[in-house]
Amino acid sequence: MAGGLGRAFFGRLREQSPFWVRVLLASSSIALIIFVWWLATRGVAEERVISPAILESPGETLASFKSLWFDRALTRNLVWSLWRVLQGFGLAALVGVPIGIAAGTFRPLESFLAPITMFGRNVPISALVPLTLLWFGIEETQKVMFIFIASVAFVTVDATRSTLDVEERYVETAYTLGASRWQVVRKVIIPLALPDVFNSLRLLFGLAFGYIILAEMVNMDRGLGTLILISQRRGPKAHVYLILILIALVAFGIDRGLQALGRSLFAYKYAREA
């Protein structure tokens, strides 16, 4: 029976596999991609399914890492990109989190800001490149402000959401314990919203890290975006792929790091019943 076979292979609905099975499954998907890649790019250059001008073989790509590291100053460019994101996103957090929490606490402010945040979240990110060039020139300010403008509306709205998610019963409890309005905001709403605010900042940071590549493709002054474009124009093409893989790995690493930071900052949330 097909159902029986499916169950034997996929397990109970929504059942999680043991750790080693998960690792095995994840590795086999990577292996499959590399295998197909290898298959499409093996043999002499002229006889390959995909021309080396578009995609080199896995071996060739890996071998070009040396020149990416030394000749193209990979780490320095990576740090530059991160630094830009950090400034722009840091500014967005500094502005967006307090305003967002205020809007979640005082709903009239939320209504007042709604048109602005709605615009900010729906404007195409790529359209912000010419706009920021117009406003801030082509130097560092443009790149930082691009990240700021691209993320501040999201940060604000998420902070509002987190604030509204603090359940009313906590506010009511505080009132019946004699807290004043200001005390409720300071001692209850803000501390209870913070773990969620942090979590959304973590997710949005990942997005902002993706955006910076876009801003770095104009003016081409340092950064991973610049590096991708240089590799695409002057080669080696393999660098494009290496940088893309690197970006994903770094983004994943940062996300895990922030997750660990959140767990230690808000340890009380993750404590288990004794």
Binding site: E167, R169, Y170, E172, T173, A174, Y175, T176, L177, G178, A179, S180, Q183, K187, V188, P191, L192, L194, F266, Y268, K269, Y270, A271, R272, E273, A274
Partner: protein, 275 residues
């Protein structure tokens, strides 16, 4: 009529005069009138019973001064002779849902109200430790725990300690033991009886359990839905034994049977009217 009894009359702890709450066309409670006297030396314990939608919680939240039930659409509500203006620490409230603040230890949860009053750290922590012990938690091992590390019964103990530490004149409890297993529930009832004798507050206790209302209350308010009205006040015997033992008491069982009959009748009427 007050004032007939020689000495200056003490104002009622809580007085409702024809209190009605409407939301648009929907009437939550209608013309609810009652008065709970200020008995010298001890507060009354009022158990509130009735099917869902009868307005028990509405009455409780109006006393607490919590929106949107407060303010009522019409009628008069007074606490110790004074109209209510909003929530305050003189009317403590314990909810069914767990409301311990996640980011605070048990100690700082219990000390929350004192902290809001500006009581110095050392002083409020000393008071909090005393109340943690009073509600049967272990000061040494539990005081520094966070709410996520506690069982449901322990969390409600924290909520009770946090309210009692402020010495409220009135304690409002909205099905505080509704989510607890039966044995924990009996233990919490016994705890409440002990504490109540000590703090001398007037308690309003909303519950679905007839036994619980009769056991804890010295008065039981029976309410009826559609719209919520107070239909009967029943005097109940004071608890003389632990909750589990009281279940075998003859007089206790008689009152429970009587109240159950009344509630069943109200339920049947409501069903016939709306059904």
């Amino acid at each position: 009529m007050s004032g007939e009894v020689g000495a200056a009359p003490r104002p009622a702890v809580v007085e409702f005069k024809k209190v009605t709450k409407r939301y648009g066309a929907k009437v939550a409670i209608q013309d609810v009138t009652f008065s709970v006297a200020d008995v010298p030396g001890r507060g009354e314990f009022v158990g509130m019973l009735g099917p869902s939608g009868c307005g028990k919680s509405t009455v409780l939240r109006i006393i607490a001064g919590l929106a949107p039930q407060f303010p009522p659409s019409s009628g008069e509500v007074r606490v110790l002779g004074v109209p209510i203006e909003g929530p305050g620490a003189d009317r403590g409230m314990v909810f069914q849902e767990y409301t311990a603040f996640d980011n605070r230890t048990v100690l700082d949860n219990v000390a929350f109200g004192l902290e809001c009053r500006g009581v110095a750290r050392g002083e409020r922590h000393d008071a909090a430790r005393a109340f943690i012990a009073k509600v049967g938690l272990n000061v040494k091992t539990d005081a520094d725990k966070y709410p996520h590390e506690l069982s449901g019964g322990m969390r409600q103990r924290v909520a009770i300690a946090r309210t009692l530490i402020l010495k409220p004149r009135i304690i409002l409890m909205d099905e505080p033991f509704g989510a607890l297993d039966p044995m924990t529930r009996y233990r919490m009832q016994d705890l409440l009886v002990d504490l109540w004798k000590e703090v001398q507050a007037t308690v309003f206790f909303v519950t679905h359990s007839i036994e619980e209302a009769v056991y804890l209350g010295d008065r039981v308010f029976v309410m009826s839905p559609g719209p919520g009205r107070l239909v009967e006040e029943v005097a109940a015997p004071l608890p003389t034994a632990p909750a589990l033992a009281m279940n075998k008491d003859h007089k206790f069982q008689e009152v429970v049977a009587y109240v159950r009959e009344r509630v069943a009748k109200i339920d049947a009427e409501a069903l016939a009217a709306n059904g």
